[in-house]
Symmetry: C2
Amino acid sequence: MSEEISQRIEQLIRNEDELDAEVYAEVSEDLEPDQIALLLESLPREARADCWAQVPVEQRVDVLVEMRAEARATLLKEFDSKSLDQLISDLDAETLIELAETLPDSVVDIALARMDEQQRQHYERSAQYGEDAIGRYVDHDLLILPQNSRVRDAERLLRREVPEYTQHLWLVDRTGRYRGAVETNALFGQPDHLSLVELMHEEMEPITASLSLREATEAFEHGESLARPVLDDNGLLLGRMTQGLALELLHEHYEAQLMASAGLDEDEDLFAPVMRSSRRRATWLGINLLTAFLASWAIGLFEGTLQQVVALAVLMPVVASMGGIAGSQTLTLIIRGLALGQITAANMMPLLRKELSVGGLNGVLWAIVIGFVAAWWFSSPGIGIVISLAIVVNISVAALSGVLIPVLLQKLKIDPALSGSVILTTVTDVVGFVAFLGLGSLFLL
Amino acid sequence: MSEEISQRIEQLIRNEDELDAEVYAEVSEDLEPDQIALLLESLPREARADCWAQVPVEQRVDVLVEMRAEARATLLKEFDSKSLDQLISDLDAETLIELAETLPDSVVDIALARMDEQQRQHYERSAQYGEDAIGRYVDHDLLILPQNSRVRDAERLLRREVPEYTQHLWLVDRTGRYRGAVETNALFGQPDHLSLVELMHEEMEPITASLSLREATEAFEHGESLARPVLDDNGLLLGRMTQGLALELLHEHYEAQLMASAGLDEDEDLFAPVMRSSRRRATWLGINLLTAFLASWAIGLFEGTLQQVVALAVLMPVVASMGGIAGSQTLTLIIRGLALGQITAANMMPLLRKELSVGGLNGVLWAIVIGFVAAWWFSSPGIGIVISLAIVVNISVAALSGVLIPVLLQKLKIDPALSGSVILTTVTDVVGFVAFLGLGSLFLL
């Protein structure tokens, strides 16, 4: 699939100079809106605008919804008022929710004014929820029936047009409170007069609208449910969350984590303007500069020693980097465990013991190897002994930090996947340098 | 959800000494098999065995299937022949496929011998496909009809028991070749004699059984399909892939990537035995040791300079680390782009230009800051100038490497998410040290 997209991009850029409706139609043939969005995002900004001009009007809303916010915002900024007007002339609640953050408030108001009453109500109920609450993203295409309906009522409803990807009928009481769901398949062969309540599916546990996206997605990772009712605080049926939405959100969650681990925003545009991109990345570089200066300061404590034994300066990176790598192995294992909820106060001690043993064993093993190499390289058994000891110390501290740092961050409500690695390597750098140069000062001077 | 699991784990460990059927029943109430699997994996090995003894016999197979291979293998090793016999007495094809890698071949043979003819056939057809092919994991619970069936035939079939999560009827020709699928919902209100071919769902594009898990999952990331037919090379309907399976595989894919980035196996057990765990991690530490020695060797080229200007030794980590961070930002952006198929030969040049500009701008900015700090710290304008130049050089090289390394790795069919970061930091370390110490040798001696 991703290879297919690559081919389309190549084809598009090859024909960039003569890009017209015909070339575009050929390139975009059979592509889904999310694939066209990917295609647009892959183009440098000017080419992107040219290509956008070729996207058929009727596809534009769908494509915009699928784009990452930064790329979408840039496109929207170029819209004249007529195109904008056209764009928002016929939006449903879910689409407007998606686009709202990148549209001026005044435009959102116009779009709302043009919606039919029911869609506006859907919009207003969803928009109460924040960007990280599942209530904001629910799907409103539900077949809803009163709880006292019978099989014949359901069949009458289904004989009219059925929304695609419908697997359930939703039962509510007179005030709109959720009562249960019936699989459409359960209707086959049932007598007309049977009450739908008899056919209710037992495993349709509702989700609270205020639940975070991550938690709502987790609810789909067990079992096989295709959709779940999403209720507001009063038990009113707000809409449904589907397995398809869970798949999309899971993807976005991991992409955001990947980007965040390098201090990038999940909406970062591949071709963001240089100034904007530089400004955003500068912050992360600044934070890391502070940690680097911390390491330098630790080295600076031993200037005198370094002057006398320059071999220490040469070997410093080995000590720091072995600690960093060993620590990041433990850290990664713990981050996974925390994400799965597997790590608690109760199993911390045995876990620490195990990681310290693994670290200790590997520390001793590699200390011996590195000790011999260093002693041979600088023809100095003393250097060999000093680096061996420093490696054992640093790898043990790394194992300890690899367990404790993410657990502590989690306690402080900071995502360990985001900042765990920066903090860990700062610790292993500082401890590594101090241990190595400190031991060097003791034994080699 | 994950918090819920944490609470159960705490409760279980608190009551570990008096763990009996009653305590276990309380702890595991309402948990799905995958959650019980998580619970077991969170326990140190002895506690895990004690807890396993309490898992009701009828749940054991489901729990084992959900466990990660390493943890499962340890449990299975403790089985006596009677329990093993019980376990495999009634497996279906999909379950046996999941368990096969952790069972001795002789046991797999016995399980096969006990299966009914149809399940055995399913097993044999799936088992032909390797661990990374989707054909291995297809779901066989299909309602299959001959292509010339009518609505009344479908309804007759559906009136008997319908497998849960059925949304389609699958049409095949006389030799078992896939012809199309009909949504069960499409049957409502249709005349009895209508041919099912008239109702076929257009977007049910088949997946080839030999497709990799990642590619098969991608097919579900566009659009909303709930299931797709999986065909063998001859077009025979092997089974279906569902959206639920896509969700599970996506999760595993990302977890595997996270673990691989630290040189860990996705099946790594939280409480793996110390010896085994140490042995596995030692390899990754060894690889990183080589890269660390490479950096040391680069520093060693400038021993004379370091002896005369010890400030260079103190500041070395700043140069290396700023390059590493800047490079990893570019690397991460490119890795995402490659995963999405957005990066091709055609947009490489503008991308390189943009990343070099961003790197250059941030390089100059931070070079000035770091230059002033260093000049003030060591009361030496010369040091300030040297480190500024080295930072600009290293951040620019980092931007270049951040684009080129992952693209090159992808070309060589090596996953850039796995080894990109190790190679990148080796480059930025070596380039950083050589630039800084080299410039120092030129200007400060």
